[in-house]
């Protein structure tokens, strides 16, 4: 029996390793300075994904700017303030928000931002990513705040501090590293999102100039290149995939090592 279950595990792990090594093998060939800094050029002229890397970073900044504060507030509400049915309802809503397909989030943001503004924009893309981020940040923040011992809250309250000072000055700092971990994981998660960007940020072949304009992103670029009929673009898709995977797995592994001592 151990053999059978071990085999299942082995297969899953080897699927991971096969995928990772294949990406590294195919991607490394087209990876060079020009590829990382140039913008896309027509077939035969090389070009790169520099604009998409910048675009992805801009989108991450917008979404983190919106998503982190809101997510942390919801987490604080769930852990420190909410009682009874309402907080259960909020937790349930937040959990189910996590499960809403990201493409639906994209359609929603299209309806509330792209349609009224009449054009695709970096801002809309950032909002779509923020909507995906909030529930993840909220739930990890809640879990981390709950790990803070009650005696710390009671101690601060006994010294005469009102609840808001207890929360902001004692509880949140005590859980800060955990909250940061959750934030990093949420950022890793949304940096791989493609579907919500297709018709919000849309994509672009130029370096971003304004948040009000369509903006390129690494993931959408990978998608467009991968489904194109050109071998040169396929090679670029692999190289861009390698860049994306380095970012995403880098964050995941870093978080793992940073939190190793605390999880034990």
């Amino acid at each position: 029996m151990t053999t059978l279950t071990g085999l299942c595990t082995l297969l899953a792990v080897s699927a991971l390793l096969v995928i990772l090594f294949y990406i590294a093998w195919r991607g490394i060939g087209s990876l060079n300075i020009q590829f990382l800094t140039d913008r896309p050029r027509p077939i035969g002229e090389g070009g790169g994904v520099g604009n998409a890397i910048v675009g992805s970073l801009v989108l991450l900044l917008i979404s983190a700017g919106i998503g982190l504060p809101l997510g942390i507030c919801v987490g604080v509400y769930l852990s420190e303030i909410g009682r009874g049915k309402l907080s259960h309802a909020v937790r349930f809503i937040v959990d189910t928000l996590t499960g809403i397909p990201s493409i639906v989030t994209g359609v929603f943001v299209y309806a509330i931002m792209v349609v009224p503004m009449k054009h695709f924009s970096a801002l809309a893309g950032g909002v779509a990513l923020a909507l995906i981020m909030i529930p993840i940040v909220a739930r990890t923040t809640e879990e981390m705040l709950k790990l803070v011992p009650h005696s710390m809250r009671e101690g601060a309250l006994a010294l005469g501090a009102p609840q808001w000072r207890v929360t902001l000055g004692v509880v949140i700092p005590a859980a800060a590293s955990g909250i940061a971990t959750g934030a990093m994981l949420a950022i890793a998660r949304i940096s791989g999102e493609t579907a919500p960007l297709l018709f919000t940020a849309f994509g672009s072949r130029f370096f971003p100039e304004s948040l009000n304009q369509p903006i390129a992103s690494l993931t959408v670029q990978i998608y467009n290149y991968a489904i194109s009929p050109y071998d040169e673009w396929h090679a670029q898709a692999w190289a861009a995939t390698l860049v994306l995977m380095t970012l995403v797995l880098g964050i995941n592994i870093m978080v793992r090592f940073l939190t190793r001592s605390r999880l034990r």
């Binding site: 349930f92 499960g99 909507l131």
Partner: protein, 327 residues
């Protein structure tokens, strides 16, 4: 007079609800947090309203027949969602059929059998599968998995099993089977992670009792599985919710043809991939509205599926606080 005191009573109840300490700073702080929390509820409501109002044109035009018509022909203005419903459900079921046994096997191995120094790093590697972005699975599916299936697996299956309708049809490498396999790899880490939590939440006394009654290790694991069945069901439904809404990877390998075919090899189309593929090209209000209605359907289905799964998993893991321990 009574109206005034009633009003005042309501005011003080409200005040106490917002700030039990009577501190002004607390009242402001608690009110702000409550506001953000309610914003979450507001977002979900806004989603329903926005999707419904954007798809009103299509809702009015087709009504219920949208779900039962199998004609999707934007040129003629015919929009029926049946091929997408079929593709979505079929690819998800294939994914679960492959993934569920594996996920349960992985969870049993990690919780019941593997020593700690193996379980931790291996568990992390399995979780990393969930960290790989969807579009990366798609790239891998197009250039690696689809050619392998087209050149080796599907011809073999067609040769031996072509008398079963599932394994007939033209071999392209892009179709339900490819989509299902990619989805299976993607949902396995999710299902196995939740099953791990659920198994870890089964009390140790159950295991000791089984062993004390003379059960073998395998029989003991069966007891644990039976005990965690509601949670495992929840995990599977959670995986289903993920598979139903998965977009990029499926779009890139499923072939994207709105037809209903029982062959695993033939191209198919899912709700999510139809939206991803056609949304920016949709000409005309009715076309766009029909695509938004697909989004509305997907939203409602995944909302119900996820809600149901969460309730099942919550009931199991909250009873013993197993989530914290399993992490």
């Amino acid at each position: 007079m009574s109206a005034v005191s009633e009003k005042f009573g309501a005011y003080s109840t409200w005040r106490r609800a917002i700030s039990p300490t009577g501190n002004t700073g607390d009242a402001v702080f608690r009110f702000l947090m409550l506001l953000v929390a309610l914003l979450m509820v507001g977002i979900v409501l806004a989603m329903v309203i926005a999707l419904a109002s954007e798809s009103m044109l299509s809702l009015r035009q087709f009504g219920f027949s949208f779900l039962t018509s199998r004609d999707w022909n934007p040129v003629k203005g015919e929009f029926g969602a049946l091929p997408f419903l079929w593709g979505t459900i079929a690819s998800s079921i294939i994914a679960l059929l492959i993934s569920v046994p594996f996920s349960i096997g992985i969870a049993i191995f990690l919780v019941e059998q593997a020593p700690r120094y193996i379980a931790r790093p291996v568990g992390f590697l399995v979780e990393l599968l969930a960290a790989i972005p969807s579009v990366v699975y798609g790239v891998w599916g197009i250039f690696v998995l689809a050619p392998i299936l087209r050149n080796y697996v599907e011809p073999g299956l067609a040769k031996w099993f072509s008398w079963i309708p599932l394994f007939s049809g033209s071999i392209t490498g892009y179709g339900l089977l490819t989509g299902g396999i990619i989805l299976a790899i993607m949902v396995t880490p999710i299902i196995s992670a939740v099953v791990r939590d659920v198994l870890a939440a089964v009390p140790g006394s159950q295991r000791e009792a089984a062993l004390a009654l003379g059960a073998t290790k395998w029989e003991m694991i069966r007891v644990v599985l039976v005990n965690g069945m509601p949670g495992i069901t929840g995990a599977v439904i959670l995986g289903l919710g993920r598979a139903l809404g998965e977009t990029m990877a499926v779009t890139m390998v499923i072939g994207n043809r709105p037809e209903i075919s029982f062959s695993l090899f033939e191209p198919s189309y899912t709700i999510a991939s139809a939206i991803a593929n056609e949304f920016t090209e949709a000409t005309g209000d009715l076309y766009l509205s029909a695509l938004v209605e697909l989004g509305l359907i997907l939203f409602l289905v995944t909302f119900v599926v996820n809600g149901f799964a969460r309730l099942l998993v919550w009931n199991v893991t909250r009873r013993t606080g197993g989530v914290e321990r399993a992490a």
